[in-house]
Symmetry: C2
DNA sequence: AGCGAAGGACGGATGACCAAACCTTTTCTC
DNA sequence: GAGAAAAGGTTTGGTCATCCGTCCTTCGCT
């Protein structure tokens, strides 16, 4: 290496992290829109039957052209996730019921470890910040969701739905838009992994106990304990996955 | 709301999170490349004087066309961060010395809170996973960096440089490419905030004590304590920022 | 002298995205 | 019943980022 300024490389940094030259691949606006809206629907953040804002308003909010938004909506309607009606009081609506979910792709399955790692980071950050910042009103809403969870031990779709609301709600309590967004992305990825494995009520029940302890720690503003409970909670689902997925 | 399927919206989800309709803005490949390489240079991951891979190889690694890469390299060379020499054994090199850094933009300053939140999540996740997964070789390398930190109390640029190597090294110890990438992004954002504020040796010294405790916890594989030490460490810099930046 | 490896420059093809206008359907109101 | 209003649906044309391939220029090594 005959570089002009030789021999100044500190030991240990001779090889730059691979991340430096990693693929820089930006999705198109179209793809991002499909993902964002599709995930919101999949997670129930946009409930079945609900109406999306009018296209002319929505494209402004998303910061894209109407034609681009329409491409995304066309894709979502072809996959059966939304449908549109014309005329006054028409609009684009979330289908009810939703089409059956696709089984996870081999690619998704192969990267499940990465997904869990990312989830750990997001959820841990959320737990700590929520413990510091959650307002009483937030906590009351979260408690209500926790109650719904207790009643859904036998109905996994309903359970998962409430579980998502709990985790996203916790993220909202941090008042960080970024964390809310990352939480929804991560929950979307987790849903892809989770939906195809069995969830006996006993596991959901112990998961609920962890939820309760987590919320208690958040209510007390004890961020260390919140982080601890969250770690334990996540390890639980991770162990379940490890037992059922390849390379566990 | 005269939707076809009325009255099915669960209480508490009547208003979908704003994140659902948030701007979906993808950077261009050109911008992402400038950011990725620029950040790596700014952080010293690509040390001053070092040579980048040949353009024909680099564009393949980054997954972009050569002309796009050249746009990015042109931008970086116009800003003085790199320069190119032609002919055999020529190449693109990181400038030495680097051009002076720009002062943080008002926009960056206004969002410093968001940056710190994101940092918390990434670093916390890294701390926990590093405690679980770090190999003895990783730990030895990290200890070496920690030693360099001790000797740099009076020289902030050198200190910061070693600090970055410590945090990125910790991320590498998690074996998660994603976390390494997020760590570099976050450190880049933090550098923008940090470089323009005073850092008395006493603060750096107490920061070093936290580094030592953190590494000890990681070495013992005690992820809870690692998370705790990391939280404390980050709160330190956050308090310093809060005292000096608007809206603290 | 010439070969080879590097950066540098050009030109066309493609596709994503945007902007603006216009059409069609439906329902509400007068 | 005749608009008016509010929604989705359609068309068109243009801009710009990006890709791909080709060729040129420089310059150290053999």
């Amino acid at each position: 290496m005959a570089s002009p300024a030789e021999g100044r490389v500190p030991a240990g940094t001779l090889t730059p992290p691979e991340a430096v030259f990693a693929r820089v691949r930006s999705q198109t606006a179209f793809e991002e829109t499909v993902d964002q809206l599709g995930t919101a629907i999949k997670l129930g953040l946009l409930p079945a039957g609900s109406r999306l804002p009018p296209e002319r308003e929505l494209c402004a909010r998303l910061g894209i052209a109407r034609s681009t938004l329409r491409q995304a909506l066309t894709a979502l309607s072809q996959s059966g996730h939304v449908f549109a009606t014309r005329g006054r009081h028409g609009g684009t609506f979330v289908s009810d019921p939703q089409p059956p979910a696709h089984p996870p792709s081999p690619d998704t399955l192969a990267r499940w470890h990465e997904t869990c790692d990312r989830r750990l980071a997001v959820e841990l950050g959320v737990a700590v910040l929520a413990a510091e910042r959650a307002q009483p009103a937030d906590l009351d809403a979260l408690d209500e969701v926790a109650l719904a969870l207790e009643d859904a031990l036998e109905d996994f779709p309903a359970y998962r739905q409430a579980d998502i609301r709990l985790h996203v709600g916790l993220a909202e309590a941090t008042r960080s838009a970024r964390l809310v967004r990352e939480m929804t992305e991560v929950q979307g990825a987790m849903t892809d992994l989770i939906s195809y494995i069995a969830h006996p009520p006993e596991i959901l029940s112990s998961s609920n106990a962890q939820h309760r302890r987590l919320l208690a720690a958040v209510r007390e503003g004890d961020s260390n304990r919140a982080a601890q409970e969250m770690t334990e909670h996540l390890k639980g689902t991770e162990h379940v996955l490890a037992g059922l997925l390849p390379g566990g």
